[in-house]
Every structure is written in C-alpha cells, then in structure tokens.
Amino acid sequence: MKLSDTTALAAAGTAPVSAAASAAEARANIFEMTQAAEEAVLRPRNPGRWPQPLRAAMAARIARQNGEDALADQHLEAAGRFAALADPEDDGTESGLGAVISFMDKVATRTRDVQTADIVALQAGGVTDADIVRLAELNAFLAYQIRVIAGLRLMGAGG
C-alpha cells in the first residue's frame, strides 16, 4: 500500500507535495502502523461480540461526532446492516444496542466524565470484560486517527 492510500492521509486530503506529506514521509513507519492498527480494530480476525460491520458503523459515528465527514463516509461503506448507527441521532435502541452506543458516545464525546459506573452498566448488561476492552480499543483508535487527520489537514492549510 502506498502511504497516500492509508486512511489517515486520504481522509486528510494531504497533497502529494506539501509540508504535511513530507512530514508523513519522514514518519512513514507511523502511517503504516496506524493502518495496521485500523485493521486490528475494524477488521480483526477475532471480533468477539462486535462484528466488522458494527465496528465500521461505530467508527463512522465517532468520526461524524468529531465533524470528520470524509472519514465517516469512508468507514460507513463497510457498515452494512448497521449503517443506521453511524447517525449520531440514532441511540441504538432499535438495534438492541442502546447501552453499547450510549457507552461509546460518552467515551468518544465526554471522555472526562467516564466513571466506574459506565463500565459496571455494561457488565450488568452481560458484556464481557474482553468485549469492553474491544470497545475501548476501537474508541481509542478512532480518537487517535481523527486527531492525526485533523492535524495533517491544518498543516496542509498552512502550506
């Protein structure tokens, strides 16, 4: 895969010859590992309770909540039957995923307010510890990917 084909550089719209592109070139290993990390959270071999289309929908939702529409559209393509969840207005109740979506929303948009009770609520709903960690990893990766994209875009804007 070419560096410019990685999700982060594509979504940031990084021009091939720019300060952002040369910074990315100098950090090529990071962009390659970032893409591998995306594979691990969006298309894992062992997805646990969260199938790949649901992961794509949650990723698109988090991107949307951060105002990253290009990234959201890209993740949405793989969301299949869970596509409705990419809309932050859908609270997940209809899909039977209300508690999970509520947890993901809080971690993504109000990180500072997350408390023990939020984890306990998932556990009480029958979500295993391993599946809670999988949700956290997905959320953490998106938080990172979105900020790399936002930073690259700002560098691009500055020339």
């Binding site: 290993n29 590992m33 691990a40 062992n46 646990g48 951060n66 993504a108 960690v133 700002l154 500055g158």
Partner: protein, 154 residues
C-alpha cells in the same frame, strides 16, 4: 482499599482496572505473543494484561506508541510528553497525566513545568514553545477538535 485519586499528581497512582486483566497463566498463544512486544517484559503490568483482552490491537499499539513517543526527529521526547499531558488533562485522566508528567520530569531533570501545570492548571506560565505545544495538544484533544491555523502558526 485505597481511595480513588481525583486530583492531578506526578506521583503515579496504582492503576486499578474496572475489568479483570487477563491472567498470565491463562493467556492464549496469541495473547502471549502480543504481550512480548510490550515495553516491559520483566514484569507484565495490569495495564498491559487488560489490553491483552484484545490481542490483535495490543500487538500493534505498543510499537505504534513507541514510534510516536520515542522515534528520532521532530519534537524532543519531553515535548511529546508535554503534549500527552495536555491530552490527559482534557480527558481528565489522572493516571495518564501522572505517567507522562513523571516521564517529563525525568527527561527534563526538573519538576518545574509539571508542578506549575498541576498547581495552576492549563493557564500556567510556560515558555512560548511549550505553551504552543500544550495549547495545540489541548485543542486537538477536544471533541470535536478546537485546533486551528492559529495553533499551527504559534
């Protein structure tokens, strides 16, 4: 049981996960493989054992973290820790802020900057370069990001 720490500190608190870490003796081959690439092989921390629940992610996140924080070129290691402190303060993660503050103090051989940040908050007096790095990190950590061209210019 020790109390939950709610104020920023440079003394790294004991990290107590709300989910059960993987037990090393029960770890699968894939989990053991992922645990091998973590920074500390001598004593596997609860933090890493908790992440081992998602072995595929752990296996890539440790080398990615190391590259971001320690690879040569660009910002100094202490400046990267300062950025991480900014993000940790926005997310109100006492543990992460303590870990990064402790490393910052070690690298700088001084607790001055982190002491000021934790005493006076985000508006603490910093030199211009540190201020620019810290402000950008904080703005970018908001959801959605508040970072703009003025942060880049600074």
């Amino acid at each position: 049981m020790s109390r939950v720490v709610t104020k920023f500190t440079r003394s790294v608190p004991q990290w107590r996960p709300r989910v059960a870490p993987v037990k090393l003796e029960e770890a699968t081959a894939e989990q053991l493989d992922a645990l091998k690439v973590t920074p500390s092989n001598t004593k596997v921390s609860d933090y890493v054992l908790t992440l081992a629940h998602d072995a595929e992610s752990l296996k890539i996140r440790s080398p990615l973290f190391n590259a971001i924080m320690y690879d040569r070129g660009g910002m100094s290691r202490a400046e990267r820790e300062l950025g991480a402190i900014g993000a940790s303060m926005v997310n109100h993660c006492i543990y992460c802020a303590a870990v990064h503050a402790d490393r910052h103090a070690q690298l700088e051989k001084s607790t001055e900057v982190t002491h000021r940040l934790f005493r006076d908050g985000a508006q603490a007096e910093l030199d211009p370069r540190d201020r620019a790095i810290f402000d950008f990190a904080q703005a970018l950590s908001e959801c959605p990001s508040r970072a703009d061209a003025s942060h880049i210019a600074a």
